[in-house]
């Protein structure tokens, strides 16, 4: 018997037992639904974190900290190689000194080393407006930003600032575009002022170069205003000079010439006693979390499929029993045992195919409907968290077909071994 004829006969047998076929398919469809949705979630999740990391970090950048001393080990006193400052919970944290920075600078492939200045300032204001608490961060041209007004190409000039939309609004500008080109004032206090004197403060005037818009991805742009590294260094120096923390950085960013060498430089840094995190590391950490979650969901899906396997075995056995006469007749007419077995295996394959299509089709519909709701609930902007890749759906369906055929093997063997004489005797 030709394969195509066998497949058509198998399909027809199923159509004649519609309710049973549908119910068996639905069981496997539950598995297909879960698996398709979790794969879509995994795909969407990974794309999402990928986008976040791309928007907030620079692939050429390593974030470097000094390895903390072992919790119980006694440290040798080293006066010139930076110190330890007391971190949260009173634990000592190693800091990076200017000597360390010079050391890192010498590593082959390192382009520049920039300590994390990010100075703490008192407030931001503009003419005729109230004063508002503000945080500053440094601008990097390779971190993607979305702008509500204005834009920056290349480096941000000194005395230039990128405001956030919220600050632009609160500082009394009519809209984001209105803020561009206006000046704002940032006030900082010198920490080392001896206490008998009045605290020394200083105003820094900036021209608004651009206003960053809210984005589902760029977390930094939502809270911090961005200034150039030079300007950040200026303010940092003014604020911290003369204190014990001056020149001691918890974090420094190392810019490498070639992003592909980032992990090599990371290991050189590790051998010198620094912890370095590449953009890939950040992505990896987040993705591990997503993968674990995905694994759990897939586990549920696999469990549903396993249950449906027993359903298929059961219904196929019943089907063989019901159709004993038909099998006997086909064998009497010269159908080979192999073809009889195939007929039942293809029936199982049809059930798997139907289940896969129903399950993943339903998952697609549910996912497409749910995507805008999820995006709204989690405030993700224009991001879809469930992404259906056609190849993944196809693999799920093909996989389920194969599993169903596997489940159909035993009943098919029973059918192929039926003795036609016995089978035709059953009235």
């Amino acid at each position: 018997m030709k394969i195509s004829d066998t497949i058509r006969r198998a399909g027809r047998s199923l159509r004649q037992a519609k309710a049973r076929t549908l119910l068996t398919s639905l069981a496997i469809g539950v598995g297909a639904f879960t698996i398709t949705l979790s794969l879509a979630g995994g795909q969407g999740g990974r794309d999402y974190t990928d986008a976040i990391v791309k928007a907030n970090t620079d692939v050429n950048e390593l974030l470097v900290t000094k390895k903390a001393p072992q919790a119980n080990a006694i440290q040798e006193y080293a006066p010139n190689t930076g110190g330890t400052s007391t971190g949260p919970l009173g634990r000592s944290v190693a800091t990076i000194s200017n000597a360390d920075i010079a050391d890192i600078q010498k590593i082959d492939g390192v382009e520049s080393v920039t300590p994390n200045y990010e100075p703490s300032v008192n407030y931001i204001t503009t003419e005729g407006q109230k004063k508002y608490v503000a945080t500053l961060a440094t601008y990097s041209p390779s971190v993607a930003l979305e702008y509500a007004a204005g834009s920056v190409s290349g480096e941000l000039g000194d005395n230039e600032i990128i405001l956030t939309q919220d600050y632009a609004a609160v500082l009394g500008f009519a809209n984001a575009a209105d803020a561009v080109g206006k000046t704002v004032v940032i006030n900082a206090t010198k920490l080392s002022t001896s206490f008998e004197k009045v605290p020394q403060t200083k105003d820094y005037t900036f021209v608004v170069k651009a206003v960053s818009s809210k984005s589902g991805l760029a977390f930094r742009s939502q809270s911090s205003m961005l200034i150039s590294i030079n300007e950040a260094k200026n303010i940092y120096t003014y604020v911290n000079e003369g204190t014990s923390a001056y020149g001691q950085f918890l974090l420094t960013s190392v810019h490498v010439k070639d992003a592909s060498k980032a992990s090599d430089i990371k290991s050189v840094l590790a051998s010198k006693g620094y912890d370095a995190q590449t953009a890939a590391d950040v992505l990896g950490t987040v993705n591990t979390f997503i993968n674990v979650l995905l694994g759990i969901l897939l586990g549920f899906g696999a469990l549903a499929v396993l249950t449906s396997v027993f359903g298929i075995i059961n219904t196929q056995y019943i089907s063989v029993l019901e159709r004993t006469q038909q099998i006997g007749l086909m064998k009497a007419l010269g159908m080979s045992a192999r073809d009889v077995g195939r007929l039942f295996k293809y029936e199982a394959a049809w059930v798997g195919f139907l289940g896969g299509v129903i399950g993943s089709g339903f998952a697609f519909i549910v996912g497409t409907l749910a995507n805008p709701l999820i995006t709204k609930a989690l405030n993700l902007g224009d991001i879809s968290l469930l992404k259906f890749a056609p190849t993944q759906v196809a693999i799920v369906i093909v996989g389920l077909i194969l599993i169903s055929v596997g489940a159909g093997i035993l009943p098919a063997r029973k059918a192929s071994r039926l003795d036609p004489i016995e089978a035709l005797r059953t009235e």
Binding site: R9, Q16, L329, A332, L333, G334, M335, S336, P420
Partner: protein, 234 residues
């Protein structure tokens, strides 16, 4: 030519052993119609199964066109049945949920007849049993006699050289049975096909060229058959 040589078939083992066929030999020339008659349980169906290679008796040969089919590999016997033989049973064994077309096309699919030729063959077979207008009708909607005619259409669609019929009219009234008989004999005559009918009915047996009467697994008497070399005919 079908040559049956000293076939012996035993059911069960040791003390329970039951001799269903006991050293049966006879020859059936091509194109002959032959009736196998005998009481219920005498071994008629068992003999038919052995002749068609559905069953494998432990002793004896079934030589069809010079080849002993009992020593063929299962695949070969299957292919042999698909291309040269067909069957009609007392209880039709048609698929009620399928259309007449799908019922009749089955032997063509099994024999891997090319798709282009199938439709014409199915239509011819249905026309031969006067069911040409029922091609799209579900088999369940046919009357008893029509069902058996459908079974005949299915049996003759691939133009077998040997046709086995086990009590073909057993479930039909005499008028309908007569119609079915006519179709069978008609096919045998026009296609020079051997027709082997298992029956209780002496009238039906009388219409055949030859008769073999089986009693307790042995040939009790024959009519219209030449003796074979084995000389077992009583």
């Amino acid at each position: 030519m079908i040559e049956i040589k000293s076939i012996t078939k035993t059911y069960g083992k040791k003390q329970n052993a039951f001799l269903a066929l006991d050293n049966i030999s006879f020859d059936v020339p091509d194109g002959m119609t032959i009736a196998i008659i005998g009481k219920s349980g005498s071994g008629k169906s068992t003999l038919m199964h052995a002749m068609s290679g559905l069953d494998r008796p432990e002793i004896g040969e079934v030589v069809i066109d010079g080849e002993n089919i009992l020593t063929l590999k299962q695949r070969k016997i299957d292919a042999f049945r698909a291309s040269k033989m067909s069957f009609i049973f007392q209880s039709f064994f048609i698929q009620p949920n399928e259309t007449c077309y799908d019922n009749v096309v089955l032997p063509l699919e099994i024999a891997e007849v090319s798709r282009g030729q199938r439709r014409a063959k199915v239509e011819a077979a249905l026309a031969a049993v006067e069911l040409g207008d029922k091609i799209r009708v579900k088999a369940a909607n046919l009357s008893g006699g029509q069902k058996q005619r459908l079974a005949i259409a299915r049996a003759i669609v691939n133009e077998p050289k040997i046709l086995f019929a086990d009590e073909p009219t057993g479930n039909l009234d005499s008028v309908t049975g007569g119609v079915v008989e006519d179709f069978l004999f008609n096919y045998s005559r026009t296609n020079k096909a051997t027709l082997i009918i298992v029956t209780h009915d002496p009238d039906l047996a009388g219409k055949c060229d030859a008769q073999i009467e089986i009693v307790d697994g042995k040939i009790y008497s024959t009519k219209g058959l030449k003796e074979t070399s084995e000389g077992e005919i009583a």
